[in-house]
Subunit: 173 residues, 2 copies
Amino acid sequence: MTLFVDMDEVMADTYAAHIAQYNLDYDEGLTAAECHGQEVWQSVPFDRRESIYRHTSLEGFFRALRPIKDSQAVLKELAQKYDVYIASAAMEFPVSLREKSEWLDEHFPFIHWKKRILCGDKHILKGDILIDDRGYNLEKFEGRPLLFTSPHNIGTNGFERVNDWQEVAHKLL
Amino acid sequence: MTLFVDMDEVMADTYAAHIAQYNLDYDEGLTAAECHGQEVWQSVPFDRRESIYRHTSLEGFFRALRPIKDSQAVLKELAQKYDVYIASAAMEFPVSLREKSEWLDEHFPFIHWKKRILCGDKHILKGDILIDDRGYNLEKFEGRPLLFTSPHNIGTNGFERVNDWQEVAHKLL
């Protein structure tokens, strides 16, 4: 069985990093609670929205992300049972490409480079399960789509949902 | 119809670049004719083979590759008729990742980032046609595999072959 796993906001806490970088840039104290239910860029004043997007071209932004709680332990177990591939829509962010490779080397060394995919849209993936935080990635997937809960997607309906990695383990192990 | 196109030795002349870099490193005069029918690393003295592999981690190696003859013109036409994706097994070479993105921006700007895939093995690709110079990428493909001729694969049998981009145009346009 082939299992695809998204990186940002599933394995790596991009959401928290956007908030931290925003607070650094503007000397603010934005909290995750204030952003709940929406994207980080939707939670800041209109004239600062563009600056959130620009985080994605900062050298080191993706390299420094923290792994999402329990992702390492559960994925290590999943990799024993499934043909696990990492699938990240990273081509939008050229600076991130090498950083994502290095990040995986550090935090998920048991995922061989042959099992890593940096892509654009994910409609070309052929497999059985896809764990992703974005409905637009999941909706064209031919297998079983699992929506991984992130603060920005709590209002998204129509997908089987996993709230954290313990729930992934419960469903798939 | 979804058409996947490999980069190295299909769109980009990696083979010639390996020869040029080798000649630069060792002050030699190796020619493509001397390598014909085999890999470049198989065409150099045994104790220099490792150095060919190390080209793939040189900064700028992939960024400076020359596009294969007619690849730009034919792919531009193909992109009007097919859903064209670039699929490169680049994850083995972390230095190449951003360089390949920039190389595509320069030489194939009409291929949107959403249509670019940097991956490891290509068994996860779901689509109709794959043009590649490596039998191990083609053999598990569920659609129509096309072997793009490269000096190293002239002895490979068992695949429908295209010798150059004009032949690709003839078959697919």
